[in-house]
Structure formats: structure tokens, C-alpha cells
């Protein structure tokens, strides 16, 4: 394979993975912020909406998803520093030798 094909192949994979993590997690975070706003009854027009406590539960759930993503990111950095990689072949992440 020539360099161009290899680069296109790499770029494509990076784009997909980054869309899931780099746009997906901020999206989930935004959902969490919205859920918390709904729990507090904070609306854009300054009016106070009805407080919906269930929003706090959704907020915590969203936060957990995001924190998991961040923990995964830190694991990838640390693992690569120690010459290891994070493998997704079992769906759930495991640390393997590079």
C-alpha cells in the first residue's frame, strides 16, 4: 500500500473514533447540563420553569458516561507511556502489550 492509501485509511479511522468520543461525549455532557437546568428550572428567557428533580438523576447519568470516557482517555495516555495499548477486541477495554 502506498503512503496516500495508508494515510487515508488512518485518517478515516481517526475521524470515526474522534466523532464518537470528541463530539459524542460533549453531546452527552450537554444533555447533562440541560437535565440539570431542567431540574433547577432555569430557562433561556429568564422565566422560572417548573422544577423537575428527575433532571438531577439524568445529569448524574450523563456525567458518569463522560467521566468513563475521560478515564478511558487517561488510560490510553498512561498505557502508551508504559509501552502498552488499550485493546477493544473484547468490546470492553483491556490493557495489552503493544
Amino acid at each position: 500500500m502506498n503512503s496516500l492509501a495508508l494515510a487515508a485509511d488512518g485518517a478515516w479511522k481517526v475521524l470515526v473514533a474522534s466523532l464518537v468520543l470528541g463530539a459524542g461525549l460533549p453531546f452527552v455532557f450537554a444533555l447533562g447540563v440541560r437535565a440539570r437546568a431542567s431540574a433547577a428550572g432555569a430557562r433561556a428567557d429568564g422565566e422560572h420553569a417548573e422544577r423537575r428533580p428527575v433532571g438531577n438523576v439524568l445529569f448524574v447519568l450523563c456525567l458518569l458516561v463522560v467521566l468513563f470516557g475521560v478515564a478511558l482517555g487517561i488510560t490510553i495516555v498512561v498505557a502508551s507511556g508504559f509501552g502498552k495499548a488499550v485493546s477493544f477486541e473484547h468490546i470492553y477495554p483491556t490493557i495489552v502489550s503493544k
Binding site: S3, A7, A23, A30, G32, V33, A37, I74
Partner: protein, 403 residues
């Protein structure tokens, strides 16, 4: 002190100086958006980034001895220097590295003076390529890989340079668009506060990844020099003092903060809001981590710039100052040849003068050039105090130094 020892000392000191410029040039990649939105006060942001760079540098246990192998031919596949460059205490190899490092530093400091974010790794590679061509001819450079993996100047530098800003820009634009779809109806102050926290988290991740990746490069270069000079033999480990000094150098550079670059990234390209800042840093962190994970290493600087532009594109009605983005792209395109030219000239100079004199003169020229550029920067200083001033309020001539 023999000539070879003197040259070795010069190489180590200049390599640490490069590491310092690497930290200070790249602070903005992680922290510019958090500083611009007020998520973190400027001094706190650079302090946090410095600590994370320090931690990141110590986390990298792997030996990056083959980092120079990606673009130039002065080592075998294990990272040991080629035998024909090892004569006289590795003098020939040390002069190539010294000249290359000087090329990288000069370009880093010049782009900092101009407030342009440009890739520190590309500057280092450019300098080394220039000095290798000067010393060994075109065969001294590895232009492309063997076809099984991305390697060489084309695979490691040129193709990633085109891909990085585009990928990061798309991810940040999609992220920004999604975020504004979700939080468009809630109170702005409420949303902004939440996203400031998200920004700090994602920016911290970028800083940590930077320390792990970039400090390793200088550690590799210094270890290579030590092996060439016969002061170290193990190609699978980095001396502890090298690790320690490199970590401190990159962290110190980060803490000093390249405020000129931070300002351009945070205020120059777009007027950034906390949701956009979070989308930009989230995209940067995801692209940097997934690309290094998938073996398609991208430049942190170009990723960060692409992300910020994407965050501008993704917000309906936002303006992007494409003129400034265009200047950055030009800087990226000439990074490799410009740093290479300096590297080549420095090598010729060192070679013609020879002995101990050549390397000493090269280092003196480096000090003179960087000193001059630092003096120029004092005419319109940008510091933690004015880094966040309104972009449009400054007269055009003061915003960026003219080339």
C-alpha cells in the same frame, strides 16, 4: 575537556532549550480556549498545564530513541547510531543533531514572535532534515516508508499535516452544533458554568497527552547523542537525569506560557464561548488520543487550531477570521523548509569552522537570534495581563507582527 565532550554538552543544553520552547509554544494548544472564556485565570491555566506536562513526561517510560529515525537516516533500526558517524566520539552525528535543534528552536521562537501556532515537532524534524541533507546529501533523509506503515517525511509529517486540521475541525464543528442544539433553550449563564468545567477537564487531558508525547522526543534525541558520544550504551532505557531534566524543561516552558500564541488561538480566530471551548478541547483530546492509539500520529498544534476553527464553523452565526487562519496555514507549509534551511546553514557553518569552534559559533548564533527576537517581542509585549483583550480593539499593526 575534549572536543567531543564539549560538543555533547552543547547538544544536551540546546536540546533542553528546544524542549523549553516546545512547552512554551504549545501551552495555547491546551489552554487558549479555557483562558479566553474565563474558565481559568491565565496564570492558573498555565500552572495546571505545566503540572500535567510534568506528570505526562514522567509517565512516558517507553524509549523514543527512534523518533529521529522517522525522518532521517543516522541510526539503525534499533536506534543505535550508524557506525560511520561514530568516529571521534560521535562528532559528525552530534553536529548534525546540534544544527537540527538550532533550526527547530529558531523557527519556534520566530513563529512565537509572530503569534502563530506552528508544530514544534515539525520544526524539530525540519531542522534535522536540513542538517542531514547538508551533511549526508539527499540520501540522509527518509522521504517515505517501506509501504507497510506510514513513515518518512511524507508519511509522518506532510500527510498528517493536511489531515489533522480537517479531521479536528469536522469533529469540533459537529460537537459544537450538537451542543447548541441541546442547550439552546436553557439559561446561558447556567449552561456556561457547566461547560467551563467540561472545558477544564478536556484541556487537562490535552496537556497530559502533550507531556507524554513531546517530552519523549527530546529525551530520545539526548539519549541518541549520549550513545553517539559513548556515554550511554543501552538502547532500551533513558538515563534518569535525562528524563528528569526534559520533564522540568517542558513544564517550565509551559508555565512561562507562549502568551502571543495563546492570544491568537484564544481570541484571534473566533470569539469563543464556553460550549464552543468544550467542543474544541473535547475534539482535540479525542483526535490526539485516537490518532496516537491508531498509529497515525497527528500534530497537536494543527489539531488544536482545526478544533477551534471547527467550533467557530459549528455555531450558527459565528464569525471566523479566515485571514488569520490563512496566515497559520502558510506558516505550517513553510515550517519544514524554513527550519530545514536554518538547520542546513548551521551545519555548514559548524562543519567549515570545525573542531570545537564550529559548534560554539553555532550556539552563539542561536543565542543572538533568539535574543534579538525576544527584544523585538518587548516592543508589543503580550502577557497574562493583556492576553484576553478584545481582538478588534487592538490596531491591526499591533495584533500580529508583520512578516
Amino acid at each position: 575537556m575534549t572536543t567531543a565532550t564539549l560538543v555533547l554538552v552543547l547538544v544536551v543544553v540546546v536540546a533542553l532549550a528546544f524542549d523549553f520552547t516546545n512547552g512554551f509554544h504549545d501551552t495555547g494548544n491546551a489552554m487558549a480556549t479555557s483562558i479566553a472564556t474565563g474558565a481559568l485565570r491565565p496564570k492558573v491555566a498555565v500552572g495546571l498545564s505545566a503540572v500535567l506536562n510534568l506528570v505526562g513526561a514522567f509517565l512516558s517510560v517507553e524509549v523514543a530513541l527512534t523518533v529521529t529515525n522517522a525522518v532521517i537516516n543516522i541510526q539503525d533500526s534499533k536506534g543505535a547510531p550508524k557506525a560511520d558517524l561514530m568516529a571521534d566520539g560521535g562528532y559528525a552525528l552530534l553536529v548534525i543533531i546540534l544544527a537540527g535543534l538550532v533550526g527547530g528552536i529558531v523557527w519556534n521562537v520566530l513563529t512565537w514572535l509572530l503569534g502563530l501556532p506552528s508544530s514544534s515537532s515539525h520544526a524539530l524534524f525540519g531542522g534535522l532534515i536540513g542538517s542531514a541533507i547538508a551533511a549526508l546529501g539527499l540520501s540522509g533523509v527518509k522521504w517515505t516508508g517501506d509501504g507497510t506503515k506510514l513513515d518518512g517525511v511524507i508519511g509522518k509529517v506532510i500527510l498528517p499535516a493536511f489531515a489533522s486540521p480537517v479531521i479536528a475541525g469536522v469533529v469540533a464543528a459537529v460537537g459544537t452544533w450538537l451542543i447548541f442544539r441541546v442547550v439552546g433553550h436553557i439559561a446561558k449563564e447556567f449552561a456556561d458554568q457547566g461547560f467551563r468545567w467540561g472545558q477544564i477537564g478536556s484541556a487537562s487531558l490535552v496537556s497530559l497527552a502533550h507531556g507524554t508525547n513531546d517530552a519523549q522526543k527530546t529525551m530520545g534525541v539526548i539519549t541518541l547523542a549520549l550513545i553517539a558520544a559513548g556515554q550511554w550504551t543501552d538502547t532500551t532505557a533513558v538515563p534518569l537525569w535525562v528524563k528528569f531534566t526534559c520533564a522540568v524543561a517542558i513544564a517550565a516552558g509551559t508555565y512561562v506560557g507562549g502568551w502571543r500564541v495563546i492570544r491568537t488561538l484564544g481570541k484571534g480566530l473566533i470569539e469563543i464561548s464556553p460550549p464552543q471551548g468544550m467542543a474544541a478541547e473535547g475534539a482535540s483530546a479525542a483526535v490526539i488520543l485516537s490518532s496516537s492509539h491508531l498509529g497515525f500520529a497527528l500534530s497537536t498544534t494543527q489539531v488544536a487550531t482545526g478544533s477551534i476553527l471547527g467550533a467557530g464553523v459549528g455555531k450558527p452565526g459565528a464569525t471566523v477570521r479566515w485571514g488569520i487562519a490563512g496566515r497559520m496555514v502558510i506558516a505550517w507549509l513553510i515550517t519544514l523548509p524554513a527550519a530545514g534551511l536554518v538547520g542546513a546553514v548551521m551545519w555548514y557553518l559548524g562543519h567549515v569552522l570545525g573542531g570545537a569552534l564550529g559548534p560554539i559559533v553555532v550556539v552563539l548564533i542561536l543565542i543572538a537570534l533568539t535574543g534579538y527576537m525576544w527584544m523585538r517581542s518587548r516592543r508589543q509585549p503580550i502577557t497574562a495581563a493583556n492576553v484576553n483583550d478584545e481582538w478588534e480593539a487592538m490596531p491591526e499593526t499591533k495584533r500580529l507582527e508583520r512578516v
